[in-house]
Subunit: 341 residues, 2 copies
Amino acid sequence: MSKAIIDDVAARAGVSIKTVSRVVNRERNVRPQTRARVEAAIAELNYRPRLSARSLAGNRSFMLGLIYGKPGAHYVLDIQEGILEICRPHGYELVIHPGEFRDGDLVNEVSELILDRRIDGVLLSPPISDHMEAIGLLVEAGIPLVRIAPTIDKTAHPFVETNDLEASFELAEVLIGLGHRRIGFITGHPDHRAVGLRFEGYRKALRAHGIAFQGELVTLGDNRFHAGEEGARQLLSLPSPPTAIFAANDEMAGGVIKTALAMGLRIPEQLSVVGFDDAPISRQVWPSISTIQQPIREMAKTATQILLEQLRAGEAEPHPSMHPARVILRESIAPPRTQTS
Amino acid sequence: MSKAIIDDVAARAGVSIKTVSRVVNRERNVRPQTRARVEAAIAELNYRPRLSARSLAGNRSFMLGLIYGKPGAHYVLDIQEGILEICRPHGYELVIHPGEFRDGDLVNEVSELILDRRIDGVLLSPPISDHMEAIGLLVEAGIPLVRIAPTIDKTAHPFVETNDLEASFELAEVLIGLGHRRIGFITGHPDHRAVGLRFEGYRKALRAHGIAFQGELVTLGDNRFHAGEEGARQLLSLPSPPTAIFAANDEMAGGVIKTALAMGLRIPEQLSVVGFDDAPISRQVWPSISTIQQPIREMAKTATQILLEQLRAGEAEPHPSMHPARVILRESIAPPRTQTS
DNA sequence: GTGAAAGCGCTAACAG
DNA sequence: CTGTTAGCGCTTTCAC
């Protein structure tokens, strides 16, 4: 068990502790020879700088914070692991903060994170990435942040994004291309703005193909499975039900599938279904769901890289970064039945 | 923005910093009156002790570590949030470490966690809770730990557990009670020992009801959806296929359902399916899966409480704690068809 | 019960 | 390029 401290290393290498510090912190202005000696000493003693000491003296914590909403377990975990993959090798730890969008506590939690933990930087995942109050707090405190997939106010802060709108336009076009004209839509949670863009993509596709938008074909969802079930029940009970349903995420698309099957419909023969996210559920239901794959993990990695760079440079440029999503076609779609019910 | 430090508080309250420290740390031997004065000063100044300073001086980090394997996103997230719910109010942060069971790096990561971060205590979730090498390392370093749902060596360390074996015995009995005699089983990942107990429960139930165990009705799984698909394909292709399939977790049960439906079978009329975990997927497929609900989040909470208590007391008693699981019946089961295929 | 002094192990100025 | 001197803000002795 190594109890070596910086003085031990300095003594062993025959230099001052400051030089050791320089080597550890990868500062320049150290003769290669000296650096090598110090590094050898570090290795021999299995020295590791005590984080708390570094934090106290250097006034930084080597910790990053992730504040996330609740957009589904796999989404959060993907982001989390994407971040870790990048920040660990750079000596940064991650502390995680679940936060409810509408919860007043979020603001408290954020200030706690800043005040107590002296977090060096923060990553905001949807829908918190649109929580301007929390962002304001961070900015005020001078804490660097990167927003993951924000939809509003995309000017002042660095962020990473994907093309929700274009991708859902494309997916809607696939349905139209198959011959569907009555296409239902189940919207996402209103707080989760990125999901709102998917609705835009759907409308834009209708417009582009001269199909009139019909309000009765839209139901309000909240990103959860249950909303898909409800929405499907509602849409499929219409006098003239849709031949296809586009749910704003896979979770809800799964709900649509379950309800449709329970109602005795055959998919895709009698109803086509598409979702969004390429969530596990899209592969696990039968029939599997056509969807859109978002590079969530990659976005998280890029966001972390941007954040670390900012910490290094002290800069805070907007620095946007785009990770395109792509359509994935599976079993849940087919041309609409000609005529008959 | 509060920049108050302990000296400010001491001055404001007219006491020495040591007394402030005593109040902050809830030590006894402070006159109630003095305590009140100090607390008032703390509130007025919105003082929050700087963690890094506390860590450096007190030689503890106020951070807990979670080392987890990969037993599915919802499982991990449940554990994570259970831990946070308890440790946050006590001023502890959580740092998370994904770790592969078979990965040699796990040991390195653990020592890093100990050496660099001076983690105060560690929670081990399955299957890492059975990783005796990692545990040995922690013990050697004198880091308190609590194991979540371990299956081996349950003597030396505190742990929380559930009754996997009894619960699956019960679930298997439900199938037998319905009249099933040929019941297939898809086993879990061999590293994930807790899941192994579910197989034991199944065998025990067969034995208890005088049904001969048949090796051909068992396939080896790995807890993942795909293994359920494969296993079902194999079992349902037998000359005399099972009338029911028990998968060691819901993920695999979902795979069974998908495959069975794709093969044109009707569930539960032609095949009953049960799983384990009460994972979201068990509610989201059609028909929904009968399963066993484990109090995962509760286990995590109890584990954290035990850990915090240990940190306070400096004790490390085995201190086991049992959270019973319970059977949940849903649409996926029915009596076997009499006679005909 | 309370306080004074002495660090915890490191980084941040400044010298050289 | 390298070393010296001060702290960072708290907890710990050990007095009183």
